[in-house]
Protein backbone atom coordinates (compact mmCIF):
# COMPACT_ATOMS: atom_id res chain seq x y z
CA UNK A 1 0.00 0.00 0.00
CA UNK A 2 1.24 3.44 -0.93
CA UNK A 3 0.62 6.60 1.03
CA UNK A 4 -1.12 9.67 -0.41
CA UNK A 5 -1.85 12.83 1.57
CA UNK A 6 -4.78 14.95 0.39
CA UNK A 7 -4.90 18.47 1.80
CA UNK A 8 -8.32 20.07 1.61
CA UNK A 9 -8.75 23.74 0.75
CA UNK A 10 -9.24 24.58 4.43
CA UNK A 11 -5.94 22.87 5.31
CA UNK A 12 -7.28 19.59 6.71
CA UNK A 13 -4.98 16.73 5.73
CA UNK A 14 -6.12 13.16 5.03
CA UNK A 15 -3.59 10.31 4.86
CA UNK A 16 -4.81 7.44 2.76
CA UNK A 17 -3.20 4.14 1.71
CA UNK A 18 -3.79 3.24 -1.92
CA UNK A 19 -2.92 -0.06 -3.67
CA UNK A 20 -0.36 0.14 -6.47
CA UNK A 21 -1.95 0.73 -9.87
CA UNK A 22 -5.02 2.52 -8.56
CA UNK A 23 -5.46 6.20 -9.35
CA UNK A 24 -5.08 9.07 -6.92
CA UNK A 25 -8.76 9.84 -7.66
CA UNK A 26 -9.83 6.30 -6.69
CA UNK A 27 -7.82 6.58 -3.46
CA UNK A 28 -9.82 9.66 -2.47
CA UNK A 29 -13.23 8.36 -3.53
CA UNK A 30 -12.79 4.92 -1.93
CA UNK A 31 -11.76 6.55 1.33
CA UNK A 32 -14.40 9.28 1.29
CA UNK A 33 -11.91 12.14 1.17
CA UNK A 34 -14.07 15.26 0.70
CA UNK A 35 -13.32 17.63 -2.17
CA UNK A 36 -12.85 15.15 -5.02
CA UNK A 37 -16.12 14.71 -6.90
CA UNK A 38 -15.04 12.50 -9.83
CA UNK A 39 -18.37 12.81 -11.63
CA UNK A 40 -17.28 10.76 -14.66
CA UNK A 41 -15.78 7.94 -12.61
CA UNK A 42 -12.27 8.12 -14.05
CA UNK A 43 -12.73 8.68 -17.80
CA UNK A 44 -10.80 11.97 -17.87
CA UNK A 45 -14.04 13.55 -19.03
CA UNK A 46 -15.24 15.99 -16.36
CA UNK A 47 -12.28 17.62 -14.54
CA UNK A 48 -13.92 17.23 -11.12
CA UNK A 49 -10.97 15.34 -9.59
CA UNK A 50 -8.73 18.35 -10.01
CA UNK A 51 -5.70 18.47 -7.65
CA UNK A 52 -2.57 20.58 -7.25
CA UNK A 53 0.54 18.40 -6.96
CA UNK A 54 2.98 19.61 -4.29
CA UNK A 55 5.98 20.98 -6.12
CA UNK A 56 8.51 18.46 -4.81
CA UNK A 57 6.41 15.65 -6.32
CA UNK A 58 5.85 17.26 -9.66
CA UNK A 59 8.84 15.71 -11.42
CA UNK A 60 7.58 12.27 -10.40
CA UNK A 61 3.92 12.72 -11.37
CA UNK A 62 4.82 14.78 -14.41
CA UNK A 63 2.48 17.21 -16.14
CA UNK A 64 -0.33 16.29 -18.54
CA UNK A 65 1.12 15.76 -22.03
CA UNK A 66 0.57 18.73 -24.31
CA UNK A 67 -2.51 18.26 -26.48
CA UNK A 68 -3.85 15.47 -24.23
CA UNK A 69 -7.45 15.27 -23.13
CA UNK A 70 -6.33 15.88 -19.56
CA UNK A 71 -4.60 19.13 -20.59
CA UNK A 72 -7.66 20.39 -22.42
CA UNK A 73 -10.09 19.44 -19.62
CA UNK A 74 -7.85 21.25 -17.12
CA UNK A 75 -7.58 24.32 -19.31
CA UNK A 76 -11.32 24.97 -18.83
CA UNK A 77 -11.13 24.97 -15.02
CA UNK A 78 -10.96 28.59 -13.88
CA UNK A 79 -8.86 27.61 -10.87
CA UNK A 80 -6.18 25.64 -12.69
CA UNK A 81 -2.50 26.32 -11.94
CA UNK A 82 0.78 25.16 -13.49
CA UNK A 83 0.84 22.18 -11.06
CA UNK A 84 -2.75 21.09 -11.77
CA UNK A 85 -3.51 17.46 -12.60
CA UNK A 86 -6.59 15.31 -12.83
CA UNK A 87 -6.24 12.76 -10.05
CA UNK A 88 -7.83 10.02 -12.21
CA UNK A 89 -4.83 10.27 -14.54
CA UNK A 90 -2.18 9.65 -11.87
CA UNK A 91 -1.74 5.93 -11.26
CA UNK A 92 0.03 5.05 -8.00
CA UNK A 93 3.51 3.56 -8.36
CA UNK A 94 6.08 2.82 -5.64
CA UNK A 95 8.00 5.97 -6.51
CA UNK A 96 4.89 8.04 -5.70
CA UNK A 97 4.70 6.58 -2.16
CA UNK A 98 4.20 9.61 0.11
CA UNK A 99 2.64 11.82 -2.61
CA UNK A 100 1.04 15.07 -1.38
CA UNK A 101 -1.73 16.80 -3.34
CA UNK A 102 -3.80 19.87 -2.48
CA UNK A 103 -7.45 20.28 -3.42
CA UNK A 104 -8.93 23.39 -5.05
CA UNK A 105 -11.62 25.50 -3.43
CA UNK A 106 -14.24 23.52 -5.30
CA UNK A 107 -14.62 21.22 -8.31
CA UNK A 108 -16.50 22.51 -11.31
Amino acid sequence: MLKVTYIQYDGTAHDVFVPEGLSVMRGAVDNAVPGIDADCGGECACATCHVYVELEWLNKTGLPPEGSQEASMLSFAAVSQPNSRLACQIAMTPELDGLVVRLPEDQH
Binding site: D37, D39, C40, G41, E43, C44, A45, C46, A47, T48, Q69, S72, M73, S75, F76, A77, A78, V79, P104, E105, D106, Q107, H108
Partner: protein
Protein backbone atom coordinates in the same frame (compact mmCIF):
# COMPACT_ATOMS: atom_id res chain seq x y z
CA UNK B 1 -67.25 7.58 -35.44
CA UNK B 2 -64.50 5.31 -34.34
CA UNK B 3 -64.10 4.62 -30.68
CA UNK B 4 -60.76 5.93 -29.43
CA UNK B 5 -58.19 3.18 -29.70
CA UNK B 6 -55.99 2.78 -26.67
CA UNK B 7 -52.36 3.01 -27.74
CA UNK B 8 -50.05 0.94 -25.58
CA UNK B 9 -46.42 2.08 -25.99
CA UNK B 10 -45.08 -0.97 -24.17
CA UNK B 11 -46.63 -3.46 -26.63
CA UNK B 12 -45.79 -1.22 -29.57
CA UNK B 13 -42.17 -0.96 -28.44
CA UNK B 14 -41.93 -4.75 -28.41
CA UNK B 15 -43.80 -5.26 -31.68
CA UNK B 16 -42.32 -2.57 -33.91
CA UNK B 17 -39.70 -3.53 -36.48
CA UNK B 18 -36.51 -1.84 -35.32
CA UNK B 19 -35.70 -0.31 -38.70
CA UNK B 20 -39.10 1.39 -38.54
CA UNK B 21 -38.47 2.86 -35.12
CA UNK B 22 -37.56 6.54 -35.23
CA UNK B 23 -36.05 7.87 -31.98
CA UNK B 24 -36.16 11.39 -33.45
CA UNK B 25 -39.97 11.58 -33.41
CA UNK B 26 -40.72 14.46 -30.99
CA UNK B 27 -44.07 12.85 -30.07
CA UNK B 28 -42.17 10.18 -28.12
CA UNK B 29 -41.10 12.86 -25.66
CA UNK B 30 -44.20 15.01 -25.78
CA UNK B 31 -46.32 11.97 -24.89
CA UNK B 32 -43.72 10.63 -22.44
CA UNK B 33 -43.65 7.17 -24.05
CA UNK B 34 -39.98 6.92 -25.08
CA UNK B 35 -38.79 4.63 -22.27
CA UNK B 36 -39.80 1.15 -23.55
CA UNK B 37 -38.46 1.90 -27.04
CA UNK B 38 -35.03 2.80 -25.73
CA UNK B 39 -35.13 -0.13 -23.34
CA UNK B 40 -35.52 -2.40 -26.37
CA UNK B 41 -32.79 -0.63 -28.34
CA UNK B 42 -30.33 -0.94 -25.45
CA UNK B 43 -31.06 -4.67 -25.29
CA UNK B 44 -31.29 -5.58 -28.99
CA UNK B 45 -29.58 -2.91 -31.07
CA UNK B 46 -27.76 -0.41 -28.84
CA UNK B 47 -26.04 1.33 -31.75
CA UNK B 48 -28.97 1.68 -34.11
CA UNK B 49 -29.11 3.00 -37.67
CA UNK B 50 -32.28 4.72 -38.84
CA UNK B 51 -32.52 5.38 -42.55
CA UNK B 52 -34.60 8.39 -43.63
CA UNK B 53 -36.21 9.15 -40.33
CA UNK B 54 -38.11 12.36 -39.61
CA UNK B 55 -34.76 14.07 -39.02
CA UNK B 56 -32.73 12.27 -41.66
CA UNK B 57 -30.52 9.18 -41.45
CA UNK B 58 -28.54 8.76 -38.26
CA UNK B 59 -26.98 6.45 -35.70
CA UNK B 60 -28.54 6.32 -32.25
CA UNK B 61 -26.09 5.65 -29.43
CA UNK B 62 -28.15 4.43 -26.49
CA UNK B 63 -25.79 2.91 -23.91
CA UNK B 64 -23.86 4.79 -21.24
CA UNK B 65 -20.42 3.44 -22.10
CA UNK B 66 -20.85 3.96 -25.85
CA UNK B 67 -21.96 7.56 -25.29
CA UNK B 68 -18.89 8.10 -23.10
CA UNK B 69 -16.72 6.73 -25.92
CA UNK B 70 -18.19 9.16 -28.45
CA UNK B 71 -17.96 12.08 -26.00
CA UNK B 72 -14.28 11.48 -25.32
CA UNK B 73 -13.24 11.19 -28.99
CA UNK B 74 -13.78 14.70 -30.37
CA UNK B 75 -11.08 14.04 -33.01
CA UNK B 76 -13.38 11.45 -34.62
CA UNK B 77 -16.77 12.81 -33.57
CA UNK B 78 -16.85 16.46 -34.54
CA UNK B 79 -19.24 19.12 -33.26
CA UNK B 80 -18.43 21.51 -36.11
CA UNK B 81 -21.48 23.41 -37.37
CA UNK B 82 -20.15 23.16 -40.93
CA UNK B 83 -20.49 19.38 -40.67
CA UNK B 84 -23.92 19.52 -39.07
CA UNK B 85 -23.33 20.79 -35.54
CA UNK B 86 -24.72 19.37 -32.32
CA UNK B 87 -28.47 19.10 -32.92
CA UNK B 88 -30.21 16.41 -34.97
CA UNK B 89 -32.00 18.91 -37.24
CA UNK B 90 -30.14 19.54 -40.50
CA UNK B 91 -30.32 23.24 -41.24
CA UNK B 92 -29.42 25.07 -44.41
CA UNK B 93 -26.04 26.72 -44.07
CA UNK B 94 -27.51 30.24 -43.97
CA UNK B 95 -29.54 29.32 -40.85
CA UNK B 96 -26.67 27.74 -38.92
CA UNK B 97 -25.48 29.85 -36.03
CA UNK B 98 -22.00 28.85 -34.92
CA UNK B 99 -21.01 29.00 -31.28
CA UNK B 100 -18.28 27.38 -29.24
CA UNK B 101 -20.43 24.31 -28.53
CA UNK B 102 -20.63 23.70 -32.29
CA UNK B 103 -16.89 24.05 -32.86
CA UNK B 104 -13.94 21.75 -32.31
CA UNK B 105 -10.60 22.61 -30.72
CA UNK B 106 -8.78 24.94 -30.91
CA UNK B 107 -11.55 27.48 -31.73
CA UNK B 108 -13.86 25.93 -29.16
CA UNK B 109 -11.26 26.07 -26.41
CA UNK B 110 -10.38 29.73 -26.85
CA UNK B 111 -13.99 30.94 -26.76
CA UNK B 112 -15.08 28.66 -23.94
CA UNK B 113 -12.27 29.91 -21.73
CA UNK B 114 -13.59 33.47 -22.04
CA UNK B 115 -16.93 32.69 -20.39
CA UNK B 116 -16.11 29.82 -18.01
CA UNK B 117 -14.78 32.03 -15.15
CA UNK B 118 -18.33 33.29 -14.54
CA UNK B 119 -19.15 29.93 -12.96
CA UNK B 120 -15.87 29.53 -11.08
CA UNK B 121 -16.25 28.50 -7.42
CA UNK B 122 -15.67 31.99 -5.99
CA UNK B 123 -18.29 33.51 -8.29
CA UNK B 124 -20.83 30.87 -7.35
CA UNK B 125 -20.33 31.71 -3.68
CA UNK B 126 -21.00 35.37 -4.47
CA UNK B 127 -24.20 34.50 -6.36
CA UNK B 128 -25.60 32.16 -3.71
CA UNK B 129 -26.98 34.92 -1.48
CA UNK B 130 -28.85 36.63 -4.32
CA UNK B 131 -30.27 33.33 -5.55
CA UNK B 132 -31.50 32.42 -2.06
CA UNK B 133 -33.12 35.78 -1.47
CA UNK B 134 -34.94 35.68 -4.84
CA UNK B 135 -36.00 32.08 -4.45
CA UNK B 136 -37.47 32.87 -1.04
CA UNK B 137 -39.38 35.81 -2.45
CA UNK B 138 -40.86 33.78 -5.32
CA UNK B 139 -41.89 30.94 -2.98
CA UNK B 140 -43.42 33.32 -0.41
CA UNK B 141 -45.62 34.77 -3.16
CA UNK B 142 -47.22 31.42 -4.04
CA UNK B 143 -50.89 30.78 -3.27
CA UNK B 144 -51.99 28.21 -0.65
CA UNK B 145 -54.79 25.74 -1.07
CA UNK B 146 -55.36 26.46 -4.76
CA UNK B 147 -54.02 24.93 -7.96
CA UNK B 148 -51.48 26.94 -9.94
CA UNK B 149 -48.99 26.27 -12.74
CA UNK B 150 -45.50 25.73 -11.30
CA UNK B 151 -43.79 26.33 -14.66
CA UNK B 152 -44.40 30.10 -15.11
CA UNK B 153 -44.76 30.92 -11.41
CA UNK B 154 -41.54 29.27 -10.21
CA UNK B 155 -39.43 27.49 -12.84
CA UNK B 156 -39.47 30.16 -15.55
CA UNK B 157 -39.40 33.07 -13.13
CA UNK B 158 -36.35 31.86 -11.21
CA UNK B 159 -34.30 30.82 -14.23
CA UNK B 160 -35.10 34.05 -16.07
CA UNK B 161 -33.99 36.14 -13.10
CA UNK B 162 -30.74 34.17 -12.95
CA UNK B 163 -30.11 34.69 -16.66
CA UNK B 164 -30.71 38.42 -16.37
CA UNK B 165 -28.08 38.54 -13.62
CA UNK B 166 -25.51 36.53 -15.59
CA UNK B 167 -25.85 38.89 -18.57
CA UNK B 168 -26.48 41.96 -16.41
CA UNK B 169 -29.52 42.30 -18.67
CA UNK B 170 -32.10 45.04 -17.96
CA UNK B 171 -34.24 43.33 -15.33
CA UNK B 172 -37.57 44.74 -16.52
CA UNK B 173 -36.94 43.23 -19.98
CA UNK B 174 -35.84 39.82 -18.68
CA UNK B 175 -38.80 37.94 -20.18
CA UNK B 176 -37.32 38.66 -23.60
CA UNK B 177 -34.54 36.24 -22.65
CA UNK B 178 -37.04 33.44 -22.08
CA UNK B 179 -38.79 34.26 -25.34
CA UNK B 180 -35.53 34.19 -27.29
CA UNK B 181 -34.44 31.00 -25.58
CA UNK B 182 -37.69 29.28 -26.55
CA UNK B 183 -37.25 30.67 -30.06
CA UNK B 184 -33.78 29.15 -30.40
CA UNK B 185 -34.96 25.66 -29.42
CA UNK B 186 -38.48 25.56 -30.91
CA UNK B 187 -39.21 22.70 -33.30
CA UNK B 188 -40.72 24.25 -36.44
CA UNK B 189 -43.36 21.48 -36.51
CA UNK B 190 -44.52 22.04 -32.93
CA UNK B 191 -47.39 24.30 -33.97
CA UNK B 192 -46.04 27.41 -32.28
CA UNK B 193 -45.03 30.84 -33.49
CA UNK B 194 -41.69 29.61 -34.86
CA UNK B 195 -43.00 27.64 -37.85
CA UNK B 196 -40.00 28.07 -40.16
CA UNK B 197 -36.29 28.81 -40.02
CA UNK B 198 -37.05 32.15 -41.64
CA UNK B 199 -39.41 33.05 -38.79
CA UNK B 200 -36.82 32.00 -36.22
CA UNK B 201 -34.26 34.16 -37.99
CA UNK B 202 -36.63 37.12 -37.91
CA UNK B 203 -37.32 36.88 -34.17
CA UNK B 204 -33.66 36.39 -33.35
CA UNK B 205 -32.95 39.56 -35.31
CA UNK B 206 -34.57 41.44 -32.39
CA UNK B 207 -32.24 39.68 -29.98
CA UNK B 208 -29.26 40.59 -32.12
CA UNK B 209 -30.27 44.24 -32.15
CA UNK B 210 -30.80 44.37 -28.39
CA UNK B 211 -27.57 42.57 -27.55
CA UNK B 212 -25.51 44.59 -30.01
CA UNK B 213 -26.54 47.72 -28.13
CA UNK B 214 -25.60 46.19 -24.77
CA UNK B 215 -22.35 44.91 -26.28
CA UNK B 216 -21.19 48.37 -27.32
CA UNK B 217 -22.08 49.79 -23.91
CA UNK B 218 -20.03 47.11 -22.20
CA UNK B 219 -17.14 47.22 -24.67
CA UNK B 220 -16.80 50.96 -24.00
CA UNK B 221 -16.77 50.51 -20.20
CA UNK B 222 -14.36 48.82 -17.83
CA UNK B 223 -14.55 44.98 -17.84
CA UNK B 224 -17.19 43.64 -15.46
CA UNK B 225 -18.06 40.12 -14.39
CA UNK B 226 -21.12 39.65 -16.63
CA UNK B 227 -21.24 37.47 -19.75
CA UNK B 228 -21.62 40.29 -22.26
CA UNK B 229 -18.77 42.30 -20.80
CA UNK B 230 -16.58 39.19 -20.64
CA UNK B 231 -17.25 38.41 -24.31
CA UNK B 232 -16.80 42.04 -25.35
CA UNK B 233 -13.41 42.22 -23.65
CA UNK B 234 -12.23 38.63 -24.24
CA UNK B 235 -9.35 38.33 -26.68
CA UNK B 236 -10.90 35.38 -28.52
CA UNK B 237 -14.38 36.93 -28.65
CA UNK B 238 -14.03 40.73 -28.84
CA UNK B 239 -14.80 40.77 -32.58
CA UNK B 240 -17.88 38.59 -32.29
CA UNK B 241 -20.26 41.49 -32.86
CA UNK B 242 -18.86 41.81 -36.40
CA UNK B 243 -20.07 38.25 -37.15
CA UNK B 244 -23.81 38.43 -36.47
CA UNK B 245 -24.52 34.71 -36.92
CA UNK B 246 -21.73 33.67 -34.57
CA UNK B 247 -22.62 36.43 -32.11
CA UNK B 248 -26.21 35.16 -32.06
CA UNK B 249 -25.01 31.57 -31.85
CA UNK B 250 -23.00 32.21 -28.72
CA UNK B 251 -25.72 34.31 -27.10
CA UNK B 252 -28.24 31.61 -27.93
CA UNK B 253 -26.01 28.95 -26.43
CA UNK B 254 -25.57 30.86 -23.17
CA UNK B 255 -29.26 31.76 -22.94
CA UNK B 256 -30.53 28.25 -23.66
CA UNK B 257 -27.82 26.72 -21.49
CA UNK B 258 -28.89 28.80 -18.52
CA UNK B 259 -32.59 28.55 -19.11
CA UNK B 260 -34.30 25.45 -20.45
CA UNK B 261 -32.14 23.01 -18.60
CA UNK B 262 -32.53 24.38 -15.10
CA UNK B 263 -36.16 25.31 -15.70
CA UNK B 264 -37.11 21.78 -16.65
CA UNK B 265 -35.12 20.24 -13.83
CA UNK B 266 -37.02 22.46 -11.38
CA UNK B 267 -40.35 21.22 -12.75
CA UNK B 268 -39.05 17.68 -13.24
CA UNK B 269 -38.12 17.46 -9.56
CA UNK B 270 -41.67 18.25 -8.43
CA UNK B 271 -42.99 15.64 -10.84
CA UNK B 272 -40.47 12.94 -9.89
CA UNK B 273 -40.96 13.36 -6.13
CA UNK B 274 -44.74 13.22 -6.49
CA UNK B 275 -44.44 10.01 -8.51
CA UNK B 276 -42.17 8.53 -5.82
CA UNK B 277 -43.90 9.41 -2.54
CA UNK B 278 -41.54 7.23 -0.48
CA UNK B 279 -38.59 9.26 -1.72
CA UNK B 280 -40.47 12.51 -1.02
CA UNK B 281 -41.10 11.28 2.53
CA UNK B 282 -37.42 10.40 2.95
CA UNK B 283 -36.52 13.94 1.86
CA UNK B 284 -38.95 15.58 4.29
CA UNK B 285 -37.55 13.49 7.13
CA UNK B 286 -33.97 14.32 6.17
CA UNK B 287 -33.58 17.62 4.29
CA UNK B 288 -29.78 17.18 4.10
CA UNK B 289 -30.49 14.69 1.29
CA UNK B 290 -30.95 17.73 -1.01
CA UNK B 291 -27.25 17.32 -1.89
CA UNK B 292 -27.86 13.96 -3.57
CA UNK B 293 -31.46 14.74 -4.56
CA UNK B 294 -30.38 17.49 -6.95
CA UNK B 295 -28.09 15.44 -9.23
CA UNK B 296 -30.64 12.62 -9.14
CA UNK B 297 -33.34 15.01 -10.40
CA UNK B 298 -31.01 16.18 -13.17
CA UNK B 299 -30.36 12.57 -14.18
CA UNK B 300 -34.03 11.60 -13.98
CA UNK B 301 -35.21 14.59 -16.02
CA UNK B 302 -32.28 14.60 -18.50
CA UNK B 303 -33.21 18.10 -19.72
CA UNK B 304 -31.19 17.75 -22.93
CA UNK B 305 -32.43 14.64 -24.70
CA UNK B 306 -29.60 14.30 -27.17
CA UNK B 307 -26.45 15.79 -28.58
CA UNK B 308 -25.20 15.18 -32.09
CA UNK B 309 -21.72 14.48 -33.41
CA UNK B 310 -20.48 14.13 -36.98
CA UNK B 311 -18.05 11.32 -37.73
CA UNK B 312 -14.97 12.49 -39.63
CA UNK B 313 -13.32 9.04 -39.75
CA UNK B 314 -14.47 5.42 -39.70
CA UNK B 315 -14.83 4.22 -36.11
CA UNK B 316 -16.35 1.21 -34.37
CA UNK B 317 -18.82 1.78 -31.55
CA UNK B 318 -20.55 -1.09 -29.77
CA UNK B 319 -19.61 -3.48 -32.58
CA UNK B 320 -21.06 -1.28 -35.36
CA UNK B 321 -18.98 0.36 -38.03
CA UNK B 322 -19.63 4.08 -38.15
CA UNK B 323 -18.39 5.70 -41.37
CA UNK B 324 -16.86 9.10 -41.97
CA UNK B 325 -19.70 11.50 -42.78
CA UNK B 326 -22.31 9.72 -40.64
CA UNK B 327 -24.58 11.61 -38.27
CA UNK B 328 -24.31 10.26 -34.73
CA UNK B 329 -26.89 10.98 -32.01
CA UNK B 330 -26.07 10.38 -28.36
CA UNK B 331 -29.35 9.85 -26.55
CA UNK B 332 -28.56 11.00 -23.00
CA UNK B 333 -32.14 10.15 -22.03
CA UNK B 334 -31.35 6.50 -22.79
CA UNK B 335 -27.80 6.34 -21.42
CA UNK B 336 -29.12 7.71 -18.13
CA UNK B 337 -31.44 4.68 -17.87
CA UNK B 338 -28.78 2.11 -18.79
CA UNK B 339 -28.53 -0.46 -15.97
CA UNK B 340 -25.06 -1.43 -17.17
CA UNK B 341 -23.81 2.14 -16.81
CA UNK B 342 -25.67 3.24 -13.68
CA UNK B 343 -26.78 0.96 -10.88
CA UNK B 344 -30.60 0.69 -10.60
CA UNK B 345 -30.82 3.26 -13.37
CA UNK B 346 -34.57 2.90 -13.77
CA UNK B 347 -35.29 3.83 -10.18
CA UNK B 348 -35.50 7.35 -8.75
CA UNK B 349 -33.35 7.19 -5.61
CA UNK B 350 -32.57 10.44 -3.80
CA UNK B 351 -29.72 9.07 -1.69
CA UNK B 352 -27.47 7.39 -4.22
CA UNK B 353 -23.80 6.93 -3.32
CA UNK B 354 -22.53 8.54 -6.56
CA UNK B 355 -25.46 10.58 -7.87
CA UNK B 356 -23.37 12.79 -10.16
CA UNK B 357 -22.41 9.89 -12.36
CA UNK B 358 -24.94 10.69 -15.10
CA UNK B 359 -24.87 11.96 -18.66
CA UNK B 360 -27.18 14.98 -18.39
CA UNK B 361 -24.31 17.50 -18.55
CA UNK B 362 -22.42 15.56 -21.20
CA UNK B 363 -18.80 14.58 -20.71
CA UNK B 364 -15.52 15.58 -22.31
CA UNK B 365 -14.54 18.98 -23.65
CA UNK B 366 -18.15 20.09 -24.29
CA UNK B 367 -19.37 19.24 -20.78
CA UNK B 368 -21.87 21.82 -19.54
CA UNK B 369 -20.02 24.95 -18.41
CA UNK B 370 -22.73 25.86 -15.91
CA UNK B 371 -23.26 22.48 -14.30
CA UNK B 372 -22.34 23.58 -10.78
CA UNK B 373 -24.45 26.74 -11.10
CA UNK B 374 -27.44 24.63 -12.15
CA UNK B 375 -26.89 22.44 -9.10
CA UNK B 376 -26.59 25.49 -6.87
CA UNK B 377 -29.90 26.95 -8.14
CA UNK B 378 -31.70 23.64 -7.64
CA UNK B 379 -30.13 23.07 -4.23
CA UNK B 380 -31.26 26.46 -2.99
CA UNK B 381 -34.74 25.95 -4.47
CA UNK B 382 -35.21 22.65 -2.65
CA UNK B 383 -33.74 23.91 0.63
CA UNK B 384 -36.11 26.85 0.59
CA UNK B 385 -39.11 24.72 -0.44
CA UNK B 386 -38.46 22.30 2.42
CA UNK B 387 -38.22 25.17 4.93
CA UNK B 388 -41.66 26.36 3.89
CA UNK B 389 -43.87 23.60 2.51
CA UNK B 390 -44.13 19.97 3.61
CA UNK B 391 -45.64 19.17 0.19
CA UNK B 392 -46.07 20.62 -3.24
CA UNK B 393 -48.75 18.31 -4.62
CA UNK B 394 -49.05 17.38 -8.28
CA UNK B 395 -52.70 17.95 -9.25
CA UNK B 396 -52.63 16.61 -12.81
CA UNK B 397 -50.20 15.17 -15.33
CA UNK B 398 -47.79 17.71 -16.82
CA UNK B 399 -47.91 18.95 -20.38
CA UNK B 400 -44.71 18.37 -22.28
CA UNK B 401 -42.86 20.01 -25.12
CA UNK B 402 -42.92 18.75 -28.72
CA UNK B 403 -39.15 18.41 -29.10
CA UNK B 404 -36.46 15.77 -29.57
CA UNK B 405 -33.85 18.15 -28.15
CA UNK B 406 -35.26 19.74 -24.99
CA UNK B 407 -36.98 17.46 -22.48
CA UNK B 408 -39.40 20.16 -21.50
CA UNK B 409 -42.36 20.48 -19.16
CA UNK B 410 -44.61 23.30 -20.35
CA UNK B 411 -47.28 23.11 -17.68
CA UNK B 412 -47.32 21.52 -14.22
CA UNK B 413 -50.47 22.00 -12.13
CA UNK B 414 -49.63 21.86 -8.42
CA UNK B 415 -51.09 22.85 -5.08
CA UNK B 416 -49.54 23.78 -1.76
CA UNK B 417 -51.88 22.57 1.00
CA UNK B 418 -53.39 25.49 2.93
Amino acid sequence: MNAPVHFDPLSDAHAISLDQFDPSDPKLYQDDIYAPYFERLRREDPVHWRENGMYGSFWSITKYKDIMQVETNPQVFSSDYRLGGIIITDREMQYRRPSFISMDPPEHDEQRKVVSPIVAPMNLQKMAGTIRERTGRVLDGLPRGETFDFVPRVAIELTTQMLATLFDFPFEDRHKLTYWSDTVTADVNAGGEVDSEAKRFEILGQALEYFTRLWHERANSEPRPDLISMLAHGEATRDLYKKPQEFLGNLGLLIVGGNDTTRNSMSGGIWALNKHPDEYRKLRENPTLVTSLVPEIIRWQTPILHMRRNAVADFEVGGKQIRAGDKVIMWYISGNRDEEGIERANEFIIDRARPRQHLSFGFGIHRCVGNRLAELQLTILWEEILKRFPMIELMDEPERLYSNQIHGITSLPVRIPA
